[in-house]
């Protein structure tokens, strides 16, 4: 049983197996990274985005139906302010150093969206301030 020669042989075999396994693992992990890289621009993230989108449409549908008709004007101005969240894309465009076409476009978009954000929220607040129960 404890024959050193056979033990050494077994150890060698095992080491060989381990090496083969490691190589397989390496190949697998390479395949995996390739798959994720491909996935990053094809199927998976788009499906994820689509999932988010569809769920958000449903949330919007149910939330908006519950809005009282008396507040439809504030609803319109607040959704208008909120849709200016597009400023997120504009900030990234306006952020890099140096001057470029993209940066100027980003600047214009930041300015436009800022008009909307400040204007939209303030006018909504003005409107809502007026909706009071009197007496």
């Amino acid at each position: 049983m404890a024959d050193p020669a056979s033990l050494a042989q077994r150890a060698g075999e095992l080491a060989g197996d381990a090496g083969a396994l490691a190589r397989k693992l390496d190949a697998l992990s390479q395949q995996l990274t390739m798959a994720t890289q491909q996935g990053a621009h094809a199927g998976t993230p788009f499906v994820f985005e689509l999932t988010v989108f569809v769920l958000a449409v449903f949330v919007g549908y149910y939330v908006v139906w519950r809005v009282t008709p008396a507040l439809h004007s504030p609803l319109m101005s607040v959704t208008n302010a909120v849709s200016s969240v597009i400023i997120v894309g504009a900030l990234i465009a306006a952020g890099p150093s140096g001057l470029s076409f993209a940066k100027i476009m980003g600047f214009v978009a930041v300015t436009l969206a800022a008009v909307n954000i400040f204007g939209g929220f303030i006018v909504t607040q003005r409107m809502l301030q007026m909706f009071q129960r009197k007496k």
């Binding site: 621009h41 985005e49 319109m76 909706f131 129960r133 009197k134």
Partner: protein, 465 residues
Amino acid sequence: MSDSFSALLYLVASVCFIMALRGLSSPETARAGNIYGIAGMAIAILTTLVTPQIVSFWLIIVGLLIGGAIGTYIARQIQMTALPQLVAAFHSLVGLAAVCVASAAFAAPEAYGIGIRGEIHGSSLVEMAIGLTIGAITFTGSIVAFAKLQGLVSGRPLVFPGQHLVNAGLGILLILLIALFVMTEAPGIFALLVALSLAFGFLLILPIGGADMPVVISMLNSYSGWAACGIGFTLSNSLLIITGALVGSSGAILSYIMCKGMNRSIVNVILGGFGTESGTAPTGPGAGDKLVKSGSAEDAAFILKNAGSVIIVPGYGMAVAQAQHALREMADLLKKEGVQHVRYAIHPVAGRMPGHMNVLLAEANVSYDDVFELDAINHDFASTDVAFVIGANDITNPAAKTDHSSPIYGMPILDVERAKTVLFVKRSMASGYAGVENELFYRDNTMMLFGDAKKMCEEIIKALE
């Protein structure tokens, strides 16, 4: 800040926006909702500002300061009667901003991690083109809506022969261009796409008349959301996708409610031209022969004072004359004189945007407990002494229920004809937007009060005092 942490903060911002809309389910929670909205926006902007891509801040700060100052100034100065055109103008800005962001993403895709110039990923190109197109349509469409509401151009539908053919052709051309753009990624096609979308936006809204504006504004509201959504897909940003979807569905629901309020299909509204055909000749033979009973402010004051219950029906005419304050004063006086119920009935499409009348009455300090929607109050007209219609016409026309050939047939109306007496404050006998004559004017229990809505209310107040 790590990507997943900023994604988490974007999620918080999205939830804030949902809460902002949720708050609007009642006036008590609405102000808190707006604060949620502001908080969400602040979180979104700050989170973006600390991402490593942003290294140069001066242009951003200048933009925020200029835009913020302009927005604050306009929002504080604007009169509530001018709200519809303000909202239209704001929609156009969202549209233009979407076009700018799409252009920036096209010119410098590295900043957004969607490929390199000339080799942007296919799916991003599709999303970019769609966001760009909707943004450009929103921009010019809203400008036309603004010009019509502001009175810069006539509110009448602008129709020319072959219009629908031109629009349909342009629509198909746009789809082909998007496909071509995705395949070639050529800057020339990008520019062409912008130009054609801008033209399409103009042509789409031109044929739609003034009183259809509640639908148009809601529709453009919806478009601005879908544009944000398209940009969100391009940049793989969940916050933009969620927010865009919320705004898009909100606008779509409002469009649907407005269409239902007029018993018209959205297609019918978009095709436009409504209110032109029958606008020239009054319908019905010998319209001029029938007798109209017209009264003075003193007569009206006498009738109102002796009534037990009054329902006031405001319309766009009240907004134009800025009569809401005088009207509220008159209602207060009537209550003092012993009229038990003085209430307001709002038709869904009264005014030029959804909820327009409610805001104007709120501005004049009318308690929202006194203001009722069509379904809630329509049964009460039968037990009401006086219906006081001020600056409204089509939304009270019984022809919508009886005359199958009428263009407004099937539209839900406020049943003012069931009240014992109907008072119409109107500037003239002219027909309303739909170009249909209102037979109510000739009934025995109707009295016409000719004049400007605000002046008439002031004179009634004088007579009451």
